[in-house]
């Protein structure tokens, strides 16, 4: 490569592009994981009156399992519900003492996990039917609706980020392709005499084009490695300097784990994208210059 500045510019822009691609992939995976984690904790709880018999309870569980909007049903009898309450409040012995000394005030509970967050209301409608409502305490059913709002917010933010990520990647890929295009055109310009002679001696287009395409593909590979190194350093910096486990909505720990677990796939993907951007733009650049200019 005769023009070092142009080559460095081409690699630099490709590094930026590939880093954005990599960041988008990791962010997307992390948000998807966060949403899945929160979603899995959302449930509707039906508290059963102490007068409701075990048979009635099992019957209700059976009916619930048949509802299409229900993903999973967990039944806790009074004893299991108390144990669950104790487990959840280990940090607060006063609550535990109050519950155990009062002779188990915790009602038997049916936890219903929806197949889809938007179907929570339908589960609630089913539970408040008179036949079902009479088996439950007055404050039943209860569900953690505020979490649904949180999930909606994250989903919304993720969708926006995905779109921004996709647009940014496309814009940078185009800039990147244009710069490589120019770099290769400059390289061809520098070697135009040699190319003319090659042409007159009967060199095929692929023979002349080969070195330029390989050169661009090497830019792609270098840029891919640099982008991986940048993201890797970013994780190292965030875990050691910031001591942060999350950055706003972004769960850094999970992102780091995801990066480590998928390191080779991500590296391969980056190299693949780098090679594609490099070769496609150089093939187009050389195509324009290597046409037979016979009139």
């Amino acid at each position: 490569m005769r023009n070092v500045t142009l080559a460095v510019a081409a690699i630099a822009v490709m590094v930026v592009t590939l880093t954005i691609v990599l960041f988008s992939i990791i962010t997307n995976a992390t948000f998807t994981n966060t949403i899945a984690q929160i979603t899995s904790k959302i449930s509707v709880s039906a508290y059963l009156k102490d007068t409701t018999s075990e048979v009635q309870a099992q019957n209700l569980v059976k009916q619930l399992k048949q509802q299409p909007e229900v993903h999973k049903v967990v039944y806790l009898n009074k004893q299991q519900a108390l144990q669950s309450y104790i487990d959840q409040n280990r940090q607060n012995p006063n609550l535990i003492t109050a519950a155990t000394e009062a002779g188990n005030p915790i009602p038997a509970t049916i936890q219903i996990y929806p197949a889809n967050l938007n179907q929570i209301n339908e589960i609630k409608v089913f539970l408040v039917k008179p036949a079902n409502a009479q088996l439950q305490t007055s404050d039943s059913p209860s569900y953690n609706g505020d979490r649904k709002q949180a999930i909606d917010n994250i989903t919304h933010a993720t969708n926006i980020l995905r779109r921004i990520g996709a647009i940014t990647v496309i814009v940078f890929a185009i800039i990147c392709a244009l710069i490589i295009f120019n770099t290769i055109q400059m390289a061809i310009f520098n070697r135009r005499d040699e190319i003319t002679i090659m042409r007159l001696l009967g060199a095929s287009t692929s023979y002349i084009r080969g070195p330029f395409v390989v050169e661009s593909a090497i830019y792609g590979i270098l840029a891919a490695v640099f982008s991986i190194l940048i993201i890797n350093s970013a994780f190292l910096a965030s875990s050691s300097a910031l001591q942060a486990s999350s950055l706003g909505l972004l769960d850094i720990n999970y992102a780091n784990e995801y990066f480590d677990a998928h390191f080779w796939q991500l590296l391969t993907l980056q190299i693949g994208i780098g090679i594609i951007i490099g070769t496609v733009s150089s093939v187009i650049a050389t195509r324009r210059y290597l046409k037979f200019k016979t009139k």
Partner: protein, 227 residues
């Protein structure tokens, strides 16, 4: 070997035809000299043969290849069958004599072993033995032109086109180049030579085609220079 049938080449309507209904037939192993003043159409004729230009009308057949049926992607294959020598040599300045000649073989995928075997033989034919490792800038004009001839014949083409190969050379070096062309012709290669050099034409006593204003003014065997 070379057939042009009523070939016309017009670059623009205002300029008139660079070549006007030219018909020419060259037999295998012939040595033909094309003469004419600057701008007469000699170079256009050669550029049509190497397919750097397309004719506006007329038919060209070289070595059995009909140019009407030649696709762009097959142009490299055509050029591999024709050796071309240019007035300005067109050598690669960063390559040695050996590498410049080897280059013509490399681009068609000849093995390194074969290249090491063939190139010295060809350099011997053009009397450049012992100068394999020189750079073009270290050679005289005549030597450079002989490197260019070596490069043109190393693939053993059946036709050699030499476009004013002596144009930039003094008389002694010009004769060296012409002798090499005669030698190649004796080996069986058809040679088409354009020149301005009256002395060369007169001494060679070969078929002479004279082009004037884009037309063939005369076509004579064993002829002398007459424009």
């Amino acid at each position: 070997m070379i057939l042009l049938d009523r070939v016309t080449k017009t670059y623009s309507r205002d300029m008139g035809a660079a070549l006007d209904r030219i018909s020419l037939h060259v037999d295998p192993k012939e040595f033909v000299i094309v003469v004419g003043q600057s701008g007469a159409g000699k170079t256009t004729l050669l550029r049509l043969l190497t397919r750097e230009e397309r004719p506006t009308s007329g038919k060209i057949i070289v070595g059995g290849i009909d140019y009407d049926k030649l696709k762009d992607k097959d142009i490299p294959l055509l050029r591999r069958k024709i050796g071309v020598v240019f007035q300005d040599f067109k050598l690669l300045p960063n390559k040695t004599v050996f590498e410049n000649v080897a280059f013509a073989l490399e681009i068609v995928g000849v093995s390194n072993r074969e290249i090491r075997h063939t190139v010295p033989k060809v350099l011997d034919i053009v009397n450049l033995k012992g100068k394999e490792n020189r750079m073009p800038r270290e050679l005289s004009g005549g030597e450079r032109q002989r490197v260019a001839i070596a490069r043109a014949i190393v693939r053993q083409p059946r036709i050699l086109i030499a476009d004013e190969p002596t144009g930039n050379l003094d008389p002694k070096h010009a004769w060296d180049v012409i002798k090499v062309l005669e030698k190649i012709n004796r080996y069986g290669t058809t040679v088409l030579l354009t020149t301005h050099n009256r002395e060369i034409v007169d001494k060679l006593k070969r078929r002479v085609v004279t082009i004037q204003n884009g037309k063939i003014a005369s076509d004579r065997a064993n002829a002398s220079y007459k424009v």
